[in-house]
């Protein structure tokens, strides 16, 4: 019995770094096991930010073969994955996710991009789903990085 306990205890520790599940298909692997003794932080934030639409939009075609985001799904995948921290950064007008957002829209190093989003924050982000956000940003820039006035 004692041996079993030791084995279990070691397992508990190792689970802290070995617990990733990698089914490779969809987002299910992000669900963590409540294994660690002093509290396990679930990946609910990640899961919560991935709505069901992502299952359709993530573009993990034939999940075993390709796990890269398809080019035409990059925007929705990015916004959906990052929505919670992203809107915070847009409202603050600075941050790494905001810069990466500009790059996803093909507007890297465009100084007006961030300020334009901040200026239109309420319209773009207030109580919006990821798909709405993508559509609104697309409308705002209409395929160009400079604002269409």
């Amino acid at each position: 019995m004692k041996k079993l306990f030791i084995v279990l205890a070691l397992g508990l520790i190792s689970s802290a770094y070995a617990q990733d599940r990698s089914s490779g298909c969809g987002m299910g692997w992000q669900v963590t096991r409540s294994m660690t003794t002093t509290g396990s932080y679930t990946r609910a934030l990640t899961n919560a930010t991935f709505s069901n639409t992502l299952a359709m939009t993530s573009g993990t075609s034939g999940c075993a073969k390709h796990d890269l985001v398809m080019k035409q799904k990059e925007k929705i995948h990015y916004v959906e994955s990052n929505l919670v921290p992203l809107r915070r950064e847009v409202a603050m007008g600075e941050g790494e996710r905001l810069n990466a957002l500009a790059a996803v829209w093909g507007c890297a190093n465009t100084e007006a991009f961030g300020p334009a989003l901040k200026q239109n924050y309420r319209d773009l982000f207030y109580k919006k789903e990821a798909s709405d956000v993508v559509q609104k940003i697309d409308e705002l820039f209409k395929g160009q990085c400079a604002l269409n006035s």
Binding site: L8, S15, D20, R21, S23, R33, Y41, R88
Partner: protein, 458 residues
């Protein structure tokens, strides 16, 4: 056919000269720990040289030419290695539609090893976790790179079975690629763990070699995954060794491979890690932003969150920013779901914030890197005042206890594994104590801590 074999044998004589080729070739084959013999063209018992001959032969085969099933498309790392060391003209190059597309999209220019530190307040997770980041070509934005995770493919076993299976290799290892922002959200946002990105000195060519080898393994290899030895981190060392055999990292580890220790091993040779980027978790950033305020401003933030003041009247962006950061930390603590009331508050605060100029940035405290921490195994020797002929001898396998210097570790915590003490004198040896495993987390009562507890965490 005769000419073909002549070519092969003349090539063979060159091989002897190229020792480095065979070192790398051997590592690509994973003969020692590979389960699926489908990975080898010449079978499990063939020598490395026979496998090489079979590979070159298959690379010349016209069957499946320019399709995904051609041997060149199944073994792109072998192809790179043979071309580099043995010559470009041993076989014409087949097209590989799927691989070429995949490779082009990732096209790494470098490789970073990312270390995820412990969960907050959880000494059990001191070991950490590591994964690889491929530094992409066109994406200058760090977050848009891709991360490769190697981990156990876990089924829904119950706890005890899970632990036992994990220890004795009952699970297989699996690879998963995901945008780096997904991993950052997972660790730094949702789990509250700090990330350290260690950029390696690997060249674009070496990084691409590793990526091409991942393709070889991804769908065909089956490795037993051992929580303590053949795990996420030992696999990363293996990959680094394949690209740079002279680093010889895997051999520098004891039989158990702890992620934290692999990060230290990567620092034993100064040329391996060229740059470090620290990414504090959202919880830490939130604490830092709160701590950066004066006591009056801290009160304002608290009042804002407690509905005692109206956010729409607040015109100090700094206050709103810190309030938003506190909500972000709660996001992370409450499993990502805010109550309706807090969610509404967050929406409102962010709208208000977007209307104000925000030019104030917070500076983050940089925590000491985990690789700077003390080594984990400890031997001790001591005496007893009134029994001077006795000697106390101690040994601790790992990891950290309260007497140790806490730099690089979770302060006020301990994780002790296999700690034993004997008392010895000329006549006998007494076992004084033995501790297989213990964890401790203390809550120090400092003024700052009490202040913090009194504020929003209550």
């Amino acid at each position: 056919v005769i000419i073909f074999f002549l070519i092969l044998s003349s090539v063979a004589s060159l091989f002897a000269a190229d020792e480095i080729f065979f070192v790398q070739w051997n590592k690509l084959l994973h003969k020692s720990n590979q389960v699926n013999s489908g990975l080898w063209l010449a079978g499990k018992d063939a020598s490395d040289k026979e496998e090489l001959d079979a590979t070159i032969k298959a690379f010349n085969s016209k069957e499946n030419w320019d399709t995904n099933n051609h041997a060149q498309c199944l073994y792109p790392a072998r192809r790179l290695l043979i071309k580099k060391h043995l010559g470009e003209d041993l076989f014409p190059q087949s097209k590989c539609p799927d691989y070429d597309e995949w490779f082009e999209k990732l096209n790494p220019q470098g490789i970073s090893i990312v270390f995820a530190g412990n969960y907050p307040d959880n000494p059990g997770s001191l070991f950490g976790h590591t994964f690889i980041k491929f530094i992409g070509k066109e994406t200058k934005e760090n977050l848009l790179d891709y991360a490769l995770n190697y981990s156990a493919e876990v089924s829904d076993d119950i706890g005890v079975l899970y632990a036992i299976k994990g220890l004795i290799g009952g699970y297989y290892g699996g690879f998963s690629l995901a945008p780096y922002y997904v991993k950052v959200n997972e660790y730094a946002e949702a789990e509250g763990r700090d990330l350290w990105e260690y950029k390696t000195a690997l060249t674009p060519e070496e990084s691409q070699f590793i990526l091409s080898h991942i393709w070889e393994l991804k769908n065909r290899a089956e490795f037993h995954y051992f929580f303590l030895s053949d795990n996420c981190s030992s696999f990363i060392l293996k990959l680094l060794d394949i690209a740079r055999p002279e680093w010889n990292l895997e051999k520098k580890m004891p039989w158990y491979v702890i992620p934290l220790e692999t990060v230290k091993v990567m620092h034993t040779n100064e040329e391996i890690i060229t740059d470090t980027i620290y990414r504090p978790s959202v919880r830490l950033r939130s604490q830092n932003s709160f701590a950066s305020l004066g006591i009056n401003d801290q009160k304002k933030v608290k009042n804002l969150l407690d509905n005692k003041t109206d956010f729409s009247k607040e015109s100090d962006a700094k206050i709103l920013k810190v309030a938003a950061m506190q909500l972000a930390a709660i996001h992370s603590r409450k499993d990502g779901v805010l109550s309706d009331e807090l969610a509404q508050k967050e929406e409102d605060i962010l709208v208000r914030l977007s209307e104000l100029p925000t030019d104030h940035s917070f500076t983050n405290k940089v925590l000491p890197s985990p690789h700077g921490g003390h080594d984990i195994t400890q031997v001790s020797i001591g005496g007893i005042f009134d029994h001077r002929e006795d000697l106390l001898l101690g040994y601790r396998l790992g990891v950290h206890d309260l007497n140790d210097y806490a730099v690089g570790y979770l302060p006020y915590s301990e994780l002790v594994i296999m700690d034993a003490q004997v008392r010895a004198n000329r006549n006998k040896l007494d076992l004084q104590s033995i501790n297989f495993l213990s964890m401790n987390l203390l809550r120090p009562w400092t003024i700052m801590y009490l202040l913090a507890m009194k504020s929003i965490w209550s």
